[in-house]
């Protein structure tokens, strides 16, 4: 059987690819589209390192087939910054030292962006539960939470950028 042709949108730009039916969206992103910012930590939806958005909704790209992207819109870490300007979440992660090895960071930033678009004023507890599916083994999450809360405040316009 031949590969399936998929037409979709990735980070706002039209994209086309061919994939096998069993290939995950993560495989397609990494191997076919060469967008290696999404990481594979488990392949079973348990670590969140492959987090992307599908029509704006946060999902694990390892739990989605590549063929399911047909007609939908995909957002990855590579689309979070605007040109050479970091998204405030990315900037706050850097300022707060909210990463050590940085492997979970792309997935976390995609997840946090989805959180703050849905809930601009989360409590710390809400933020913790939102990112419970993004495992970080380095930081103990402390500085990640500080970065999230600070980024949320900035995005609400509460503090000077």
């Amino acid at each position: 059987m031949s590969k399936i042709h998929v037409t979709t949108t990735v980070n706002g730009e039209p994209a086309e690819f061919l994939c096998e039916p069993q290939e995950s969206m993560l495989d397609v992103l990494r191997d076919t589209l060469k967008l290696t910012g999404s990481k594979e930590g488990c392949g079973s939806g348990d670590c969140g390192a492959c987090s992307i958005t599908l029509d704006g909704r946060l999902v694990c790209s390892c739990l989605m087939l590549g063929v399911e992207a047909e007609g939908h819109s995909i957002g990855t870490i590579e689309g979070v910054a605007r040109g050479d300007e970091l998204h405030p979440i990315q900037r706050k992660f850097l300022e707060h030292a909210a990463l050590q090895c940085g492997f979970c960071t792309p997935g976390l930033i995609v997840a946090v962006k989805a959180l703050l678009e849905k809930n601009p004023n989360p409590t710390e507890t809400e933020a913790r539960f939102w990112i419970a599916g993004n495992l970080c083994r380095c930081t103990g999450y402390d500085k990640i939470l500080r970065a999230i809360m600070d980024a949320a405040a900035e995005l609400r316009g509460e503090v000077a950028a």
Partner: protein, 289 residues
């Protein structure tokens, strides 16, 4: 090794035709969060995947005269965002929103959670407690099946070849009716229920329980409707005696296994605890309505 095919039919008849016509194993995919893990681990090797999400109406929630219709492939996240459903069936919503991470919520569906046929599925006890009905479609037409009749054993359902669930129906809640779901896990998130419990109660104007359903998950090969638990609640205002009777009934209903997620002894004891705590929340909600 058979090659895998993928199809995304846009109508119920097309989907049925594909499923019924498949020579080998055909799998229905809604959210896919369980299916993809099984594919990858080699636990299932279907020849065909039928993605149902392009069938009109299978994604989304409708409020009708008689209650709610939840499309089978509606994601947990969408369920959590539906104000009407959240108000009417907070237990079902909280159960659905316990399935996996935020990311998994973005995909996982009621039908998938049910048809994966795990004894530990979080949404299932809650839906059974509120007397949810699955609308099953297949080569022989459409039938309404109480949700507790879908799962027959771990990994097995009563659906025939070619059948799949199109939607779930929930009755309009009565006055002073509400529900709750609690589960026990060793962490706060990202776990499979060691014990899950769904409770639905209806109270009279004095706060006395006139109808109840208590359902346990993860303590037996399938979800367990604890009839004696409901009896313990009916006629009570959830006093100490009712709670003790409920606890005992829940324990007695357990038939669990020892596994990596919990021992028999632990599961039985915690089932009693969860039943009491869930009932308390359901009573409080029902009383407030």
């Amino acid at each position: 090794m058979p090659r895998l095919s993928y199809a995304a039919p846009t109508s119920v008849p097309d989907a049925i035709k594909l499923l019924a016509g498949a020579a080998g194993l055909a799998k229905v995919m809604s959210g896919g969060t369980d299916l993809l893990v099984q594919l990858r681990s080699g636990r299932t090797s279907p020849e065909l995947i039928v993605d149902t999400k392009k069938i009109p109406g299978i994604v989304g929630i409708r409020e009708t005269e008689s209650g709610f219709v939840i499309g089978a492939a509606t994601s947990g996240a969408e369920i959590g965002e539906h104000a009407g459903l959240c108000a009417a069936y907070p237990g079902i919503v909280e159960a659905t929103n316990l399935i996996g991470s935020t990311q998994v919520q973005g995909r996982a569906s009621l039908a998938g959670n049910l048809c994966n046929a795990s004894p530990a599925a979080d949404s299932v006890p809650a839906v059974i407690a509120s007397r949810g009905v699955a609308i099953v479609v297949g080569p022989n037409g459409q039938r309404s099946v109480p949700v507790e009749q879908i799962v027959t054993a771990p990994g097995r359902t009563s659906l025939a070849k070619g059948e799949f669930i199109l939607e779930f129906h929930l009755p309009k809640p009565k006055a002073h009716q509400s529900d709750a779901y609690l589960r026990f896990i060793p962490r706060t998130e990202m776990d499979i229920a060691v014990v899950g419990c769904g409770v639905s109660v209806t109270l009279d104007d004095n706060g006395v329980c006139i109808d109840a359903r208590v359902v346990l998950g993860a303590v037996a090969p399938t979800q367990v409707v604890v009839e004696a638990g409901a009896k313990a609640l009916i006629g009570s205002k959830l006093d100490e005696a009712a709670l003790a009777a409920l606890d005992a009934a829940a324990r007695a209903a357990c038939n669990p296994i020892n596994d990596k997620r919990g021992t028999i002894d632990f599961r039985v004891k915690v089932a009693g605890v969860m039943a009491r705590r869930t009932a308390a929340i359901a009573f409080e909600r029902a009383g407030a309505r």
